[in-house]
Symmetry: C2
Subunit: 336 residues, 2 copies
Amino acid sequence: MATMDKKNVSMNDVAVAAGVSLKTVSRVINEPDSVRESTRDKVHSAMEALGFRTNFAARSLKLGRYGCIGVVLFHLSGGAVDMIDGIADAAEERGFALTMIKKRAGEKMTLAEAARRMSQLPVDGMIFNLRQMVDDFDTFEAPKDLKTVIITPMEHPTCSTVSDDQEGGARMACEYFLNHGHKNVYFVSGKQESLSSQCRMKGWRAALEARGIEPPEPLQGDWNADSGYAAGLVLADKPDCTAVLAANDCMANGVMMALRDKGLSVPDDVSVIGFDDELYKTIPNSILTSVKFRHRELGIRALNEVVAGLEAPSSRSRTLVSGVLVERSSVKDLRA
Amino acid sequence: MATMDKKNVSMNDVAVAAGVSLKTVSRVINEPDSVRESTRDKVHSAMEALGFRTNFAARSLKLGRYGCIGVVLFHLSGGAVDMIDGIADAAEERGFALTMIKKRAGEKMTLAEAARRMSQLPVDGMIFNLRQMVDDFDTFEAPKDLKTVIITPMEHPTCSTVSDDQEGGARMACEYFLNHGHKNVYFVSGKQESLSSQCRMKGWRAALEARGIEPPEPLQGDWNADSGYAAGLVLADKPDCTAVLAANDCMANGVMMALRDKGLSVPDDVSVIGFDDELYKTIPNSILTSVKFRHRELGIRALNEVVAGLEAPSSRSRTLVSGVLVERSSVKDLRA
DNA sequence: TAACGAAATGACAACGTTGTCATTTCGTTA
DNA sequence: TAACGAAATGACAACGTTGTCATTTCGTTA
């Protein structure tokens, strides 16, 4: 067989090959029940033979929608995999594909800039994943006809937002310490510019203050174990330190190793809680109690929020996905 | 000002508002130098005032291309973040956006099925991220007009492939042991169905056999630390075991902890090498030597390969991205 | 000022679909 | 078999761009 070199096979080509009209081919694709079976078969054979595939551009142009949701990744970090996974699965389920763009490393991007670029792409709505502050956050206005959801712990004046309840998770961990008889809780933070770290710190502070406890000076970390280790060395010398909340599991592990190297036992001398519940993957028999956020669920909610708002882009909502305290044995009960 | 309720603002609306022709508006957007400055300004003002945005569907329909590359995620795991990061950055740089779909959890998807769905979306080429075997791998034929690149360690009969050199990385680690005077190397594998694990095992085996050493029975792990710990307990009892290659860092850490719990020292009694070089994030002062793959680079290469092949979709190439041995102090030199 | 060529602008068709409305075909009833 | 209504099919326009070719405007030279 000679190879056909016509660029694209159109519905018209199929129609001619099958001896029916253009519209009938369209019907076979979009409302097959309205076409007689014998006709349908002819058309299917022709499509098969010619290798027909629906032209996305023409279809979208006519329909006025794309069936795609735009995702802007300002930042791509650990938890992002599960979040994207959730977004992608939910999109799949609702029959949407994703259109993705990413802020380039180093390049500074505003919400307005991202929205401008996204809105020239095939999207019916947009999700921004924003884990750090951005200059025009408060002044940003989304295109009126494109539902926009921002994944961020901050409230936005006009857009819907979805977030883990980072602050609530930190509060929960803190109260867990206090309810187990601890009189104070030290805090090891993540990178300064991280909104997650800021929120976790805020929740920690709030929980202590709610009980009339003056929060001690937080220790500055950078998410990695070594910074946790350094913090642990400092904390080991504080006689009033019985409880440490570290902004992630890696630093929590660093803290624990430092305490042990200083001759202190976890949890007998000092109790520790981390965030993200991922230490068990790396440490056998891990004892670390940790606050776990449901990133996948977060992604699902974000996507559902966009889809729900497609018809009413200017609606606005705020969704918080609660965390879960995964209890192991790194916290000692001081009561009794 | 009354809100205009017309659905979409078209170039024609802009043209009328600016008192010029449709084509002139088009020119202002696509070849601004061919338009007199005064005209350009009028058009820009009109676009601004009406909130005009180019219609992606119409533009793509006319141009016959989308400026989007499709990415199919069959599997979303740890290293995938960096890979997506690389793909997205490279796409950005080449002026492409990404269109993503994902295999749903549990749902079985073939390459053919994925290609069929992708080819109805706005894409000029496709990347499949395939880390496990799929039924129709060998028989799959990509659409003739869509450049297709598969990220997978296996060779494909018709499509271009890109992969980390997993096998080479394992060989490199193994030879490192042997060159340091070790007479044998034990291996702890990852999940059985993982192609990465299979390739790493293959490289390990090849390196030993190349030196005339009979590879010992590999120990089966599941990527997590606990399985490494279990393997470590077994290995601690083998007097001839001086070197262990674990298929990832988490299991390597498990092995090390088990050896220590059995009273053995790393590296004095047993040397260990892992894969992925991520233990330092979790363990302070980590000593683990590890083979690191450049996932970001992998993504960049995959995207560049697609873009390079847009004009010649049936071209075929095979790209291997080499790994790097990150030396720390978990391997003892037995020579001398 | 007339004549000319280059620069700027415009009219029209086309990309490949789907919606609207008209026409044809079919099966059923009298 | 004729008449009828429902089912199946088709003709044509339109979605909003860009390419082709024609026309108008402008600046320069004689």
